[in-house]
Symmetry: C2
Subunit: 342 residues, 2 copies
Amino acid sequence: MSSQKVSLIEIEKLLSKAAAKFVSLEEAQYFAKAQIECTLFMYPDVNPINSAVEDLESWEKLKASKIEIQVDKSGTFLVDFNRLGPSLKLKWVHDKIEEKAKLNGIAMFGLNNSNVTDWLKLWTYGLAKRNLIAMYVFNGGLGTVPYGGSEPIFGTNPLSYAIPTEDDPILVDMATSESAFYKYSRALKDKHRMREGVLVDQNGNLTCDPVIAISKDKENARILPMGGGYKGYNIVLLIEILTGALVRSFMGLEKSAKYTKHEYGGLLIAIDISGLTDLDKFKSSVSKMCKDIRSQKHGDHVTQVIVPGDHAHFRAKKLRAEGVLELDLGIYEKLKNWESQK
Amino acid sequence: MSSQKVSLIEIEKLLSKAAAKFVSLEEAQYFAKAQIECTLFMYPDVNPINSAVEDLESWEKLKASKIEIQVDKSGTFLVDFNRLGPSLKLKWVHDKIEEKAKLNGIAMFGLNNSNVTDWLKLWTYGLAKRNLIAMYVFNGGLGTVPYGGSEPIFGTNPLSYAIPTEDDPILVDMATSESAFYKYSRALKDKHRMREGVLVDQNGNLTCDPVIAISKDKENARILPMGGGYKGYNIVLLIEILTGALVRSFMGLEKSAKYTKHEYGGLLIAIDISGLTDLDKFKSSVSKMCKDIRSQKHGDHVTQVIVPGDHAHFRAKKLRAEGVLELDLGIYEKLKNWESQK
């Protein structure tokens, strides 16, 4: 696919203009800024601008749809997105969960029936900048087997968290399966084997061959939980339930074999640090620990001991200085098209 | 150490009588019942009655101490235990977090400066029986290295969660390091090697020798995070902060090299399922998924695919039917001594 270099300033402006057709200008600007930040953390490995455009398209396609608040308690809200892209409502969600967290110390937002949330750090990073601890989990599809098992019953169940420090927030965004699904798909497409400890065969035994790891229904993969053992399984199972039955979404074999976006759910938890302790003292302790971690002698298998997010922040600063990203031409044209619409 | 067979009924009665010297009768009975349940899940691998007695002793020794509520918001409370054993206040904590969770959908309890909480399922199981999802994390000591690192900076940071089903709750209680600390201590004492992927040496490289894995300060171990990779590290780090700086406790190198109980903190989160969705529908979905998990074909490395907690519930039922446990004579005598006191 051919692509084009576009300045960050132009991408942000185009995203904001497009989103403003569907949500308020303030929400649109917040969406655009957050999508750029998220992209800078991940590009060129993946380009979240593509997901941002998918979210915009869902609002264009489903003009008659509205999001529906199913629960609104002092510390909790649950939203049915009616298949709309949730990222356009990021500011609204952040404002509302921040207000509830400040009141109660902790607050929770659940979402179901949405156009999925592909990149979880989009949801957590902005809350850390507001001095909250944010944790977000999502399920999505079938691709992960239970420990000892032979067929996928869980999603790859990603987890993101973000924690304020005196400097950049600590930032995690990872599948809780041993491999993200897109890495499996790439291996299958490129016909290369994966390392030991990632995949199992139809009998539940280890394999490195992505073809042998295709599930019984041929739609999914047999990926192990993180670490390959029962501890990772315990984490994956917890997330499946928090993002399934708890938020009125689907989980386990309730989900269709074929990847079906609106069947997946998410749960965001925010903790107001200043509700429990002194914020400056908290940040100082966390920053001190980060420094202690980074100054450790490292083993031969790594080049340095890092704090989660270090690579992402480094990458973002470099890209911000360069000021341009490659966009697929199709994506760029869609954005230009929204701009040219009255 | 010599030991004696004692009936469950007698142990429960003795625990309850002892606790009633320090807290209300209702709290004492709740403490005794929960300690027995927790023990049935773990015995004979470990015997939590010993920790229950340690908690009782702390109340006897620190007669002038009182617990102090530092934060009490609608969804959150934080308690300084002034080195008292927190398990005697289990009913009070459960009542209070349940009330806050019902009001807000989610609630949080933090504790610091306590006589530690050795067995986390004591804190989560009772909440699942009240139809809440409960998650509890604790830090404790120094024993776990960051991914790629060479010196311990985290505790083994256990995590427990409990989730209601139509039958017995799902129940997890695990260190988020690759090995619990007591397993490392046993290997060191018994002079046996641990398997690959558990320990590192002073250069951050893998070792199976527990002697080589002793930390620089000679007080601790160099245990890897769960799974040995960066994903497990991300989980361990999150728990260190949630149970350290967030709850006004210590974390990382703020903790003494020598294991010092009152320096460790805990965080309990409870979610009111019925605040988000229909409770019966939730339980039915979870139970269906558990059934699907258990019916999977299993790999050669396990004898069956289980749901976390299956072994514990099986063990508890068997022991409940037998009706007796072995108690160390010293422990039994302490309990009898409290009984004989006016």
